[in-house]
């Protein structure tokens, strides 16, 4: 409930700058984004929690992640009056300064969300440490959860776009054909355009080779640690 209310309040202030209707849409979409991400990754989070030795089962993993999101939601809900104040003071979406206002608005919210997310992650890390047999186990569980949820969360944020509402585009709950494309492909496409085309095969080879080397080094280090009296 805390998570839903916190994200809904904050979401309303995110969309409000574009239009009040957009505010209502985003107030619905932000809690939905969290629910979809945790719902779809529920099994995976539970499995990773157990297999990495965190001491948390399926239900407890969900509770732990929800508690982290609740902390972020509390923080965002608490700053919602401030961001609402910002929304009504920033040049409006139909003004000549809309483009620069949109950029500033985007940056401010990105900073707020990142800060709240970071605090939530730190709290989650501490919670895991109190349950796990070692700090390494807690950290590896935390890293696995963050990686999985961030990866899927990015895609859900792509599907549920728009959140900030570009001044050039119409207000809508979802864009036309929301499932088409992916966040990562869009970023990859942008990178390709910036760098004028990357040799993909080479890059995949380097990343794959690097990953294998890292696994090999990790194995050797683990073996050495075990051999030490």
């Amino acid at each position: 409930m805390v998570t839903v209310i916190g994200f809904a309040l904050y979401g309303f202030t995110v969309g409000y700058w574009r239009s009040p209707v957009m505010g209502i849409f985003v107030a619905m979409k932000m809690p939905l984004l969290i629910a979809l991400t945790l719902g779809c990754n529920g099994l995976l989070n539970g499995l990773l929690g157990i297999l990495l030795g965190s001491g948390l089962g399926f239900r407890q993993s969900l509770h732990a992640l929800l508690s982290a999101f609740s902390i972020s939601a509390l923080i965002l809900g608490a700053v919602a009056p401030v961001t609402f104040f910002l929304a009504i003071n920033v040049p409006s979406a139909d003004s000549p300064q809309a483009a620069s206002a949109h950029s500033a608005y985007l940056l401010t919210h990105t900073f707020m969300i990142a800060m709240a997310g970071l605090i939530g992650v730190v709290r989650l890390g501490k919670l895991l440490e109190s349950y796990s047999s070692s700090r390494t186990v807690a950290r590896s569980t935390l890293a696995a959860w963050i990686a999985g949820n961030a990866f899927l969360g990015m895609q859900f944020s792509w599907i549920l776009r728009p959140f900030f509402g570009s001044p050039r585009l119409e207000v809508a709950f979802l864009r036309d054909d929301p499932m088409k494309g992916s966040f990562i492909e869009a970023v990859w496409g942008s990178l390709e355009r910036i760098f004028g085309g990357i040799p993909i095969q080479g890059l995949v080879g380097i990343v794959g080779g690097g990953a294998l080397i890292l696994i090999f080094i990790y194995q050797i280090r683990t073996e050495r640690k075990k051999r030490k009296p």
Binding site: L43, L44, L51, L152, I159, M179, R193, G196
Partner: protein, 267 residues
């Protein structure tokens, strides 16, 4: 799912004392108990006599087959059509085939590593490894389905599927290593070699059993190809690629070469 071990409290409550004394595994293990033991007590499971019998092989086999069928179905939703049934069938067939042809080498390498497990026990442990890998693939399935509905890129979808398989296999390997240590294995290098062989076999099967992601008139292709070559050929292809789109792509590349930038937001 785990009523006995998992408290109904939230994690914000005081943590449970470490270590907890657990009851030994019961004599006869059903699928549910096998599932629990596979996730939470792999070492104990390896010591249990059930892994030498047919029941573990059947139980793990059922878990693995169902999990991989679901994962295959999700991969099939990338192209839909015949792939909805062909991809799950190919994945399950491929996994069983890989397990079968790699079983003799597993027995030899684990014996070299110091394990004294019988062939029957080794079969049970291999099935356990595949079941655990299958469960992780099942965990990845909802996320992969979301991406399968959004992307048309073979490279991206293939990367996701392979990444999920690598993670699943890593945990499967961890289970196997823990289990074999309980049977006396002291070295991990032979097991690393074996799992590398198994990985190569499964990656090659992804090419031998193609198409798994794309569409084709044939169930299987007869053209022989090494998996790296196949990936190189298809990484840049798209499910919706048409001759016109390919021409557009060539044109876009030449434009990019001339330094003419496109606005990404106009796409």
């Amino acid at each position: 799912m785990n009523d006995n071990n998992e408290a109904e409290t939230t994690p914000s409550a005081s943590p449970p004392p470490h270590p907890t004394i657990q009851e030994p595994l019961p004599e006869n293990l059903g699928i549910r108990e096998l599932f629990e033991a596979l996730l939470r007590r792999p070492a104990e499971l390896a010591r249990h006599k059930v892994t030498e019998g047919r029941s573990a092989l059947t139980g793990f086999g059922i878990i693995a087959v169902i999990s991989i069928l679901v994962f295959g179905f999700v991969l099939g939703t990338f192209a839909y059509g015949d792939q909805l049934w062909a991809a799950p069938v190919k994945l399950v067939g491929g996994m069983l085939f890989a397990g079968l042809i790699c079983f003799p080498s597993l027995y030899i390498f684990s014996s070299i590593a110091g394990s004294s497990a019988s062939a029957a026990k080794m079969g049970g442990l291999l099935a356990g490894m595949l079941a655990l890998a299958g469960l992780l693939l099942l965990g990845f399935a909802p996320a992969l389905w979301i991406f399968a509905q959004g992307t048309a890129s073979f490279g991206f979808m293939g990367f996701l599927a392979i990444a999920a398989w690598l993670v699943a296999l890593a945990f499967g390997y961890k289970f196997l290593r823990t289990a074999l240590r309980e049977t006396g294995a002291t070295q991990s290098a032979p097991l690393m070699i074996w799992v590398s062989i198994f990985l190569l076999v499964t990656l090659q099967l992804s090419t031998s059993l193609r198409p798994i992601l794309g569409r084709s008139d044939k169930f299987l292709t007869t053209e022989k190809k090494f998996f790296l070559q196949h990936w190189g050929d298809t990484i840049d292809e798209s499910l919706v690629a048409s001759p016109q789109k390919k021409e557009d792509k060539i044109e876009a590349k030449s434009r990019s070469g001339r330094g003419e930038q496109q606005n990404p937001y106009n796409n």
